[in-house]
């Protein structure tokens, strides 16, 4: 599918990337804020060093989740701002979109957070993220050489992920 490169919005047809990947990058965090995986397929702009970048991303999502749950107009029970929430409780946000990218988010009840940054034309990626969670289970959770809570260094997972991401619209 189409891919928007750069930051200008133009009506001319977008240029496909060299690798054919439609996603910019992907983060996987666990409930303690440890960045388990960071994959980058197309990211021309780097503003922060990796640690700050991960911290910022995790902090952003943590706050967004909390904010969206507290601002929920439909839910009768609301906690006070600042009180930590059980993962997955209340309403959960799943994406935000700017003029240059779309960030899709999924959190499992076990605290694993999947973040996928793609071009802004992308549709709802919830099923995609669920599939990636299944990939995580098969290649990482079931991998006896992987210690839970540490960086993911499984080549098979990376390959399967790359292949899958290349195919999403």
């Amino acid at each position: 599918m189409q891919f928007f490169g750069g930051s200008e919005i133009s009506p001319s047809p977008p240029v496909p990337t060299a690798t054919g990947n439609n996603a910019h990058m992907m983060y996987v965090f666990n409930r303690n804020g440890v960045c388990l995986l960071y994959r980058e397929w197309n990211r021309p702009l780097h503003t922060l060093n990796p640690q700050q970048d991960h911290k910022l991303m995790f902090g952003l999502l943590f706050s967004l989740k909390s904010l969206t749950a507290k601002m929920d107009p439909t839910n009768a029970e609301k906690g006070n701002l600042g009180i930590p929430q059980l993962p997955g409780l209340g309403c959960s946000f799943h994406s935000f979109r700017t003029n240059t990218y779309k960030l899709s988010f999924m959190e499992t009840p076990s605290g694993i957070k999947f973040i996928l940054v793609t071009n802004p034309r992308t549709g709802d990626l919830r099923e995609t993220l669920k599939y990636i969670y299944n990939l995580y289970v098969e290649y990482v959770a079931k991998n006896p050489l992987y210690t839970p809570g540490t960086l993911i260094r499984c080549e098979l997972f990376n390959t399967a992920l790359d292949q899958y991401v290349r195919s999403i619209a």
């Binding site: 409930r31 943590f62 930590p84 059980l86 993962p87 605290g111 919830r126 669920k130």
Partner: protein, 186 residues
């Protein structure tokens, strides 16, 4: 797009890859046998089985969540039902039942009529203190810890010791909500 409905234990059990039941039972028996030879003390073996179960549980939870597509349970009662009906069915092919709720709703018993781990097993006199299926208590404890619940799981009834069923008591100690992990403000 509405979220996909959670799948029942039977549906998932039918769709996952299964292993031969006898192979599973005999492999587990060999593990316990080897642990008894290596550790000699029955209490040590119990502890080791629990630890092994814990290590399995912390990984198993992700597989459970991914395959069953459940959202977070509202309260501990729902959690216990999930474990008994969906979890046990999905991984062991047997359904358990939940009973004996206490007044707060924090303690219950999960009863198994049928337990694939103990087929062909008889405990000798030298191993009377052994909780043969202690791995299951570790698995439940590990899995629940990953969904922010600290629990204590103990065996109340054990058919290998002469009772009529297998009964596990699951007690919720506390719920651990998510905290912002970075202490420094930047």
């Amino acid at each position: 797009m509405p979220p996909a409905a959670p799948r029942s234990g039977d549906a998932i059990f039918a769709s996952v890859e299964r292993v031969n039941a006898e192979l599973f039972t005999l492999t587990y028996g060999a593990i316990v046998r080897q642990l008894l030879t290596d550790l000699e003390e029955v209490e040590e073996v119990n502890k080791q089985l629990d630890q092994m179960g814990y290590n399995i549980g912390i990984r198993l939870i992700d597989e459970f969540l991914a395959k069953s597509n459940v959202s977070r349970c509202v309260d501990f009662k729902e959690t216990a039902e999930m474990i008994a009906k969906v979890g046990f069915k999905m991984f062991l092919g047997v359904t358990a039942s939940v009973m004996n709720w206490d007044a707060d709703g924090t303690c219950c018993s999960i009863v198994l009529e049928d337990n694939p781990l103990v087929d062909f097993v008889e405990l000798p006199d030298t191993c009377q203190g052994l909780y043969y299926c202690n791995i299951l208590s570790g698995v439940i404890r590990g899995a629940l810890e990953m969904v922010a619940m600290k629990t204590e799981v103990t065996w109340i009834r054990d058919m290998l010791r002469g009772d009529d069923a297998y009964e596990l008591q699951v007690k919720l100690l506390k719920q651990v909500p998510e905290e912002y992990p970075y202490k420094d403000d930047e």
